[in-house]
Amino acid sequence: MDDNAKITDDRNNHNDRIPTVVADGVDIVYRVNGTGGGRGSATAALNRILRRKQSEKAAGVRKVHAVKNVSFVAYRGEAIGLIGTNGSGKSTLLKAVAGLLPVENGRIHTDGQPSLLGVNAALMNDLTGERNVHLGGLAMGMSREQVKERYQEIVDFSGINEKGDFITLPMRTYSSGMAARLRFSIAAAKDHDVLLIDEALATGDRSFQKRSEARIRELRKHAGTVFLVSHNNKSIRDTCDRVLWLERGELRMDGPTDEVLKEYEAFTGDKPAKPKPKAPAPA
């Protein structure tokens, strides 16, 4: 899955711009059952089953066009921020780059396997933190030896044991902050070719955030390219040198961090607090 050998070959060549992710006219559409015509009534459901092929609209399936015709090229060594108001399609785009959501039109080409930073789903609340570290590491595709090797590092980084031996307790007994810290620590333990981060920096207290930012910079050194979704303009400024601004699924701007953030801040009206627009697309 990981083509580490291929990457190291040309990592030294920073002058040639080597693309790692190429998005070519990407459209992403969500389909939601049981809305619209008939409002999920029995007839609508029957319609849906019998005439699946004919007309999605008649069958009460609503289409949500979350990302519309987005094209960009990301190069090795770049850290790219994705910004936009809630529901503008940032997370959706990230998932498609990771190959976790199928695209409707267009293509996404990637170098190696991009990994989305997030193992939340593989962890189980009824298990101890210790077993969750093992499970999460294996879920990300690490070998058993790698997990064993990194185990202490992960636990130390999470700081779970700072206030006592909590790593041997079930995760359901953790505070939400502790759980979030452990999740981030597990996810950040692996080196990635293309790393996709979805608002992970917002977790934990200030000292943990500092450590996370340092870890992200480190990951960036090892990774070909880093994508970061965040609503925190400061953390985008700190970590990214290029920003893509998505609005209602469309790519509005693509350029150096300062330029794009200036426009974006003017758009959202950071000074006078205006209600943020809410687009229908799921984030």
Partner: protein, 306 residues
């Protein structure tokens, strides 16, 4: 509604300067989210074998972690199940008449059937119940139904330990034929994993399958001689054609149950098995295992959508 809500026309993107697809091809990038070839898929699945094992064990442990008795329920649940069936079928309905060693006969049937039943039930929700995992991490999706089947196998091994105690209590002698339980279990596990993959794909596309499945499974259970002997039952109904009996006896659930009875219970003789029983058992395992795997792989890139 302020005017900020209206998205002004996109200001930038200069139309792609180069043909993006050509650029990607030049640098040897691969298409994200495309389905890997079958050998590559098997290779990736094999690379995740430790995850599959850890995931199934974790699920099994997590299952009873809140209960006061904890892991004791692993053994207690199948025993209680067997007790209920013994009361209803053995005492109230009297299916035990003419079946020697009825309690071991019944308990073996219930345990072996439960393995298949719960593998299939877990399989229907393997993808649709783990969408979070599927959407967050990249791994061959077949790992999910397989690890659920593996979880049920581990569960069955607990039950088998209980079964051995029951067998000894009812005076069944330890015999060399007990070894035959191992190949029977292996074949059944392959069969179960295969069917779990088939229903996992169906359940991913149509979650309603999970509502329907209990009825299908219950019908299948009553047709497989879990709590009665098919041959014995059919001999009472002389007007049923003999092919019905044969058809019931070669259905995979009945085959695996009878093989296990044959292996463990000395009063269950080879003549009670349908002809060529090992060939049939292997055939079912290969058909479901290979067919189910390919069927599941065919839709690999669609899991997690919508």
């Amino acid at each position: 509604m302020s005017q900020v809500l209206d998205t002004p026309p996109p200001t930038t993107p200069a139309p792609a300067p180069v043909d993006l697809a050509a650029l990607a091809a030049r640098h040897g990038l691969s298409v994200s989210g495309a389905r890997p070839s079958l050998p590559e898929y098997i290779r990736r699945l094999w690379a995740r074998r430790h995850f599959i094992a850890a995931f199934s064990t974790a699920k099994l442990t997590a299952q009873y972690s809140q209960a006061k008795l904890g892991q004791v329920w692993q053994v207690l649940t199948p025993l209680l199940n067997a007790a209920v069936y013994y009361f209803i079928f053995g005492k109230l309905m009297g299916t035990s008449r003419g079946v020697p060693d009825f309690v071991p006969f019944l308990v073996t049937g219930v345990f072996v059937w439960t393995f298949t039943q719960s593998s299939i039930m877990a399989g229907t929700r393997a993808i649709s119940g783990n969408l979070g995992l599927v959407r967050a991490l990249h791994f061959p999706r077949a790992a999910l139904p397989i690890s659920f089947a593996l979880q049920q196998l581990q569960q069955l091994l607990f039950s088998m330990a209980a079964l051995v105690v029951i067998l000894l209590c009812f005076g069944i002698p330890v015999a060399a034929s007990w070894v035959l339980a191992v190949p029977a279990l292996v074949l059944q596990s392959i069969f179960n994993a295969g069917v779990a993959m088939i229903v996992a794909r169906m359940g991913a596309k149509t979650p309603d399958i999970a509502q329907l499945m209990p009825f299908v499974l219950r019908t299948w259970m009553y047709a497989s001689g879990v709590m009665f002997s098919i041959a014995h039952m059919m001999s009472k109904h002389t007007h049923t054609p003999s092919w019905v009996t044969s058809a019931l006896q070669v259905n995979p659930a009945a085959v695996y149950i009878d093989l296990m009875r044959f292996a463990l219970i000395d009063s269950f003789h080879a003549k009670q098995l349908p002809p060529h029983v090992w060939a049939i058992a292997t055939g079912w395992a290969l058909l479901a295992g290979v067919g189910g795997f390919i069927y599941f792989w065919k839709a690999e890139e669609t899991y997690g959508r919508g």
